[in-house]
């Protein structure tokens, strides 16, 4: 008797996490990063996208300890370990805030606004908060 074929493995989903708030004015930056890191542990295709004021999360040399807050660096460092390899930052958001892509504390691929929209449009799910 032929063995019952195993169910085909579910195709990994494309999940995008939007970081669009400044790092310390609210808890959004920390909690969005936390969620993306958990998703990375589920063998899905996880994308992290920085736009609007979220690009301020990537500015090097911040001292959140002075605010009693924990730096995001540790979480950023864990992204690669958890296979979150797709990190994007929007060109216009950087330019509007006078930031330069080559001085960010996380290696991110720069996309213009149109390309960012196209990327998000092909995601299975977009997490925003």
């Amino acid at each position: 008797m032929a063995a019952t074929p195993a169910a085909p493995p579910r195709k990994p989903k494309t999940l995008a996490f939007l970081c669009r708030r400044s790092p310390w004015g609210s808890g959004h930056a920390a909690e969005m990063l936390e969620a993306a890191l958990i998703a990375g542990a589920f063998d899905q295709e996880v994308h992290l996208a920085f736009l609007d004021d979220g690009v301020f999360q990537l500015v090097a040399g911040q001292r959140p300890d002075l605010l009693g807050r924990r730096a995001l660096d540790q979480g950023f460092g864990e992204l690669a370990d958890l296979d979150v390899e797709h990190v994007w930052v929007e060109r216009e958001s950087l330019a509007e805030r006078g930031l330069e892509a080559d001085r960010l504390l996380l290696r991110a691929t720069v996309l213009d606004r149109r390309a960012m929209a196209e990327l998000l449009a092909r995601m299975d799910a977009v997490f925003s908060a």
Partner: protein, 119 residues
């Protein structure tokens, strides 16, 4: 259609949680399935049974519990986000349960669509 719902805004002070509740009820009334409702960030306040709005005002905590009981809705509160905001078993409203972020990711994997509520 099978939906996963993410709620990231508190029940009072914004419209998102009320809209999420209305969406969940309407979707099920139209024969859709809700894989899970996950409460994250300030959304965890939707599960605080100590909420006691003045008479005549909406009580979303009670309404979530009611919808959960009536329709067997899986209402899950993030343990980390809840802990940060004083939401724990002791003040958890009926029908909610506390678990980890993995429950959000799993719901999205199992559902056809994620619908997030909260700016």
């Amino acid at each position: 259609m099978k939906f996963a719902i993410l709620v990231t805004e508190a029940p009072f002070g914004g419209q998102a949680a009320a809209t999420a509740l209305a969406f969940a009820g309407a979707a099920m009334a139209r024969g859709h399935e809700i894989e899970r409702v996950f409460f994250y960030c300030d959304g965890v306040h939707n599960a605080n049974r100590l909420a006691a709005p003045p008479g005549g005002e909406a009580n979303l905590v009670r309404d979530w519990s009611k919808l959960g009981a009536e329709r067997g809705l899986d209402l899950v509160v993030c343990i980390n986000a809840g802990g940060r905001r004083g939401l724990r078993e002791a003040n958890l409203a009926p029908g909610f349960r506390i678990s980890g972020l993995g429950q959000l990711v799993e719901a999205v994997i199992l559902a056809d669509r994620l619908v997030p509520f909260g700016a």
